[in-house]
Amino acid sequence: MKNNSEDLDNPEHERLSTKELTLNLGPQHPATHGVLRLVLDLEGETVVKCTPYIGYLHRGVEKLAEHRNYLQILPLTDRLDYISSMSNNIGYCVALEKLFAIEVPERTQFIRTIVAEMSRIANHLLWLATHALDIGAMTVFLYCFREREKIMDLFERLCGARLTVSYPRIGGLKNDVDPQWLEDLYKFTDEFPMRVEQYETLIDKNRIWLRRTKGVGIISAEDAINWGMSGPALRGSGVPYDVRKAMPYGAYDKVKWEVPTGKNGDVYDRYRVRMEEFRQSNSIIRQCMEKLPEGPIMADAPKFTLPAKDKVLSDMEHLIHHFILITKGPQTAPEGEIYVATEVPKGELGFYFISDGTGRPYRMRIRAPSFVHVATLPKLCEGELIADVIANIGSIDIVLGECDR
């Protein structure tokens, strides 16, 4: 907006100066964590209206899934929340196992819990790194990536990929963990609590950090529930709701852990909740490793899981299953609908399937936490300063791959 001094005599000036300024934030702004576009109406530095525009990363995952059989959809779920793809994979598999009524072996449950918590740590590390960077703490960014790299390396050794893991399978896992891997993970969990303390030394009491986060972006418990928030964003407002406790899956009901909650529902409390989750996840991983039972990793469900390779070419039934499963998908999928939620690092990730008994889903709908959280941005930002918009975006931890799907 032009506001030169020679314009001051212009009768137009008065009309212009009372007008709100419309600012387009994103979709390429680095602090919008992907391709979120916000149109902000500003009055001075205060946000009067905030309108999120989404869809820049739409790839039609739900539609693509209708044209793939159940086994092929797995790599698509990697690309929802690509920061914690392991959790998405597990959410997908858990949902389908419920639909197909597959009993998953104990060992698999424990390993899944371990890798899901690793991915929670990796996700929160990236969140802390970028959130701190947005607010202006550069050092934390580098330290967090150091630890995240270790988890990525462990993932690579486990399944061959660092980011898009595709590790779980319907009814089991791609491969078993080896003792050396477990040992290295154990070492990581030994040192990780000390690292969390280091991050806290850097920012927890830092006056700039406190000023930027305390009392900013407050959302009450009631509002948070009404807006459908979940995960750390909901728990920051003091609602102790966690899908892992409410509807346990994996081995979450076999280990001891707590649901950390905040009080005020501001950016700082959401930050504290995630910092506590670091410790809880770490302890869940350790307990799971200590309790890890022996046994098979694939469920005994030949109609839904690929048979062992040695049986394929020596046994007629297995050969048929192998061919049918790969070319057409599970042919005995029960008809019906199912919604199964899991707790991914960002909140409640739900998979809703309508199955018509063929090898492909008739409809796959994904309830993505980021989608819901983006919708709360106007509520969080309106009436606050423009600098707080960035803090708010960071604090609800969105990823647009999942939001736009």
Partner: protein, 183 residues
């Protein structure tokens, strides 16, 4: 605000603590790598460029052209063309992978009953045209020779991509050879 808090505040205690931590890190060894100069060893089993397994007995591809890998591929980037050869046997004329569309999920490896396709740990390849990323059967076999040569390739393949059981194609031929020898 208590006296204690006040003193902490004016002395910038929390900031000094943070600074002390960063200074401590200044003297610890760096963990970053200077990439093109300093390369990281890919771990065995990391999912990179494809290779078609060469059958040690025939020197040709092990693939029989069943098409399961193409059926399984979620990005539908494997194209297989077969024809009828001598003895009414299926012959794989062309086996092509569009690497640009591949998502490196390794489902093709899982689908192959023969263990005839593998992913190598090679990930640094680039090109100027699309054709360079269109891997034909010959190029894929070449990849096998190139990246699986030596003990490391063997370890890599054994550990991750070989079907976790007997190797059928070769095992069946070995049985046949034995029978023939016995006759």
């Amino acid at each position: 605000m208590t006296v204690n808090e006040f003193v902490k505040k004016i002395l910038f205690i929390e900031i000094l603590k943070g600074l002390a931590l960063t200074f401590k890190h200044m003297v610890t060894p760096a963990i970053t790598r200077q990439y093109p100069a300093e390369r990281r060893e890919p771990v065995p089993g990391s999912r990179g460029l494809h290779a078609l397994v060469r059958n040690p007995l025939t020197g040709k591809e092990k693939c029989v052209g069943c098409g399961l890998c193409a059926a399984m591929c979620p990005s539908q980037c494997i194209h297989i063309y077969t024809s009828e050869g001598d003895d009414h046997k299926k012959v794989v004329d062309r086996y092509e992978i569009e690497v640009l569309r591949c998502v490196f999920c390794a489902l093709c490896v899982e689908a192959c009953p023969y263990g005839a396709v593998a992913l190598t740990e090679h990930f640094e390849y680039s090109g100027y045209t699309r054709e360079e990323f269109y891997y034909t059967k010959e190029r894929l076999l070449e990849n096998w020779d190139k990246y699986m040569a030596g003990a490391k390739g063997e370890e890599y393949f054994e550990k991750f991509w070989r079907p976790k059981s007997v190797d059928f194609a070769t095992a069946a031929q070995a049985v046949q050879a034995k029978e023939r020898a016995g006759q």
